[in-house]
Symmetry: C2
Subunit: 430 residues, 2 copies
């Protein structure tokens, strides 16, 4: 915390730590609430209190203000390891915890979301899950999903393969929602024909809020892992705003399409693989690979210089020259069916001559690219840009990074055009 | 065309030009069809024929092949200026033609879409429009929308203002669909409180196809211009897949959300301003500014170094250093509520210190940014990144380019936070 020296001392002397319940008397008013972490941008003499209505207020304290402790903090982030007796008749799932809102314990409106709830806490907060499976917790790391990077994807893939090869019947990966779609795509390619279900799950409301979607999402995940009999990488999240319907998304086809709604995750250019109701009944919308007893293999190589760029009118080849020349792989979210302007096209051509692989996708998100429709598209295609149907720009970026690191240069375009984990529909719709 | 010298000569001698109906006899087969423009990437001895089923075939001709002309081309792109008698009782609309599929005359599947249908042809192809208004045509230019750049936006804005000040009661701007959303946003800012309706329209199927959406879209535009009594910049396109429902989108809030569907254009984070049925009845979903007799003013200055970037995990500050240092304005489509990773944050901070204005939007497209929720967001905010509610990343890019050129440095952030043409909802929803 970054309080003033004086205020820090007063808090310490009163035994007040983060999350203590305190009262502050000032100018004849008494404020009661939970003391929140002190944000860096707050003044050093301001205490942030979470008050009864759930909102936070900032109170500037001075020498005359009286600060008293009412209660020690409720230690929701204490490591009480799950003491559930193992039920030999139930399958075993491993919950790999990586951080994010689903693993946080403070009201997200307060500006103080901390990714510190442990995986066991998550399990303990949803006791129903123990009737579905024996769930073991493994805390891999604790990062907000905007800070997830390629090395995190690699660690998760390795941990998932390890747990499967150690006997897990399914893996739940708890993850922040911001970049969960990217991670799901990465695991889809890295884990290939994974023999068990690997389900990513997040929440849009933190776990200590009554409106949290975390428990319902976790239970739906466990149901899918145990009952579906299917393998592969999926994302399970709310399908609607209520707690009674969940979508199982193909890991390479899912995108966060809303900043805050519970049903923010959508399958793009494909139906969800399955839907789950509140009783755990699964309706499949397509054939999915069956579980098997083969070993899981994680191929985690990634080319780190790959870039994802959205084309826009006015995009300046002078400004982007360096990006195009430094990157071995370039994914463009072009306009419409897959275009860039005639002012950008020469730079793209130059990058290709320089050895880069350039993949064209569409910023429309929905629908598929087709570079044979307009002459500009044909010119780009003849310059060597490759388009692959209805793949998401984000998935194309992840796949290209992975393919560049795992295949020889000659094979890259062929592999990009081959669907590996349902990442595109291999047909023209017009 | 880029045929071989020999083949060019043979075609010329037979009086065959682009779009002639011809027959080719080769190896005992006779092919009949319309000769298409010769794409640059085709071999010099290959003729592309559009055959009866609508598809194109390439035929390699040699000395023994017989090529005969059957019919001269149907000259749909001839400049037959509209000879409609002016009806003094009807208002006057000006159709400003800029190119795109709506102004093209060849089946788009052939790879030979040419933006050459004139504005008068467009009017003549929809005779019903003359019962709604006296429509004058003005061909501004003829470019596919992926080649539209900032100078085109400036030309369109000037032409629109000029026509309004010369007495037009409304302006229809025909435009390719790829970047129509960007142009609509640009005109919204450049034309400010424009006193008449300015409606952009495109088509997803070219005008010579029976399934074209061009005539219905044009009529809906004219209806809105004449009947609504409202001013402002809008986009009118199909609301559904059938020809009986049209949406009127706020120019700064519309995005092409599908590569090919007729109802590809969607209002984001807001309802369409109005809907129009096939009889021209308008249902308004919100209050819109009324038409007036003031003069139209086009403020067309634009800062050309502005960039639009999507954040993604693995985004490499080393690769993007040059982009951040060369740009006076940077719009980031961040993850979730408006985030970038802790690895990218220092580069953003450096760009701000270097004098750049950085605006945070969300790649979720739907929903609004809120940088006060997570600590990472607070850190970015305290570094000087500004977020503005639920603005589209593309609109933020256009607005920032415009604001940087039309206001002093001190005013830029304040103007970015002020809604000028309904480009964002000025309220927190949570």
């Amino acid at each position: 915390m970054s309080y003033s020296i004086d205020l820090s001392k007063r808090l310490e002397e009163s035994g007040i730590i983060e999350n203590s319940k305190i009262s502050i008397e000032k100018d004849g008013m008494t404020y009661v609430g939970t003391i929140m972490p002190h944000p860096n941008l707050s003044a050093p003499d301001v205490i942030i209190l979470k008050v009864a209505n759930g909102y936070n207020i900032g109170i500037r304290v001075d020498q005359d203000s009286k600060i008293k402790i009412i209660d020690k903090p409720i230690t929701t982030n204490q490591k009480i390891e799950a003491k559930i007796k193992e039920n030999k008749n139930l399958p075993t799932l491993v919950l790999v915890s990586t951080g994010g809102t689903i693993a946080s314990y403070v009201d997200y409106r307060t500006g103080a979301v901390h990714p510190t709830l442990s995986a066991s806490d998550m399990i303990n907060s949803v006791p129903e899950i123990n009737k579905i499976a024996n769930v073991r917790a493994r805390v891999l790391f604790s990062v907000l999903s905007e800070n997830m990077n390629i090395s995190h994807w690699q660690e998760i893939a390795k941990a998932v393969a390890e747990e499967i090869n150690n006997g897990a019947d399914g893996i739940i990966v708890s993850h922040g929602t911001d970049t969960m779609g990217y991670t799901a795509a990465a695991l889809s390619f890295m884990l290939g024909n994974v023999p068990k279900p690997v389900v990513l799950v997040g929440s849009q409301r933190s776990s200590d809020r009554p409106s949290s979607d975390a428990p319902a999402n976790l239970i739906a995940c466990a149901q899918f892992c145990v009952k579906s009999g299917k393998s592969g990488v999926y994302v399970v999240m709310h399908d609607t705003l209520s707690d009674d319907s969940f979508a199982v998304h193909i890991g390479s086809r899912v995108r966060k399409m809303h900043t805050s709604r519970r049903d923010a995750f959508k399958s793009i250019n494909i139906e969800p693989a399955a839907n789950i109701d509140k009783y755990g009944n699964i309706t499949f919308n397509m054939d999915l690979p069956l579980i098997s007893e083969s070993r899981a293999i994680a191929r985690t190589g990634m080319e780190m210089s790959t870039v994802l760029l959205q084309y826009y009118p006015g995009m300046n080849p002078y400004v982007f020259r360096d990006v195009f020349m430094k990157s071995k792989g370039i994914v463009i979210a072009g306009s419409g069916l897959g275009h860039v302007s005639d002012t950008m096209a020469p730079l793209v051509g130059e990058a290709i001559k320089n050895g880069a692989i350039v993949i064209m996708t569409s910023q429309c998100i929905n629908g598929q690219t087709n570079m044979n429709v307009y002459n500009t598209g044909r010119d780009l295609a003849s310059a060597g840009i490759v388009s692959v149907f209805d793949i998401l720009p984000e998935t194309a970026y992840v796949k290209l990074s992975w393919v560049l690191a795992n295949y020889s240069k000659d094979e890259v375009i062929e592999i990009m055009k081959t669907p590996l984990c349902r990442e595109f529909s291999n047909r023209r719709v017009f």
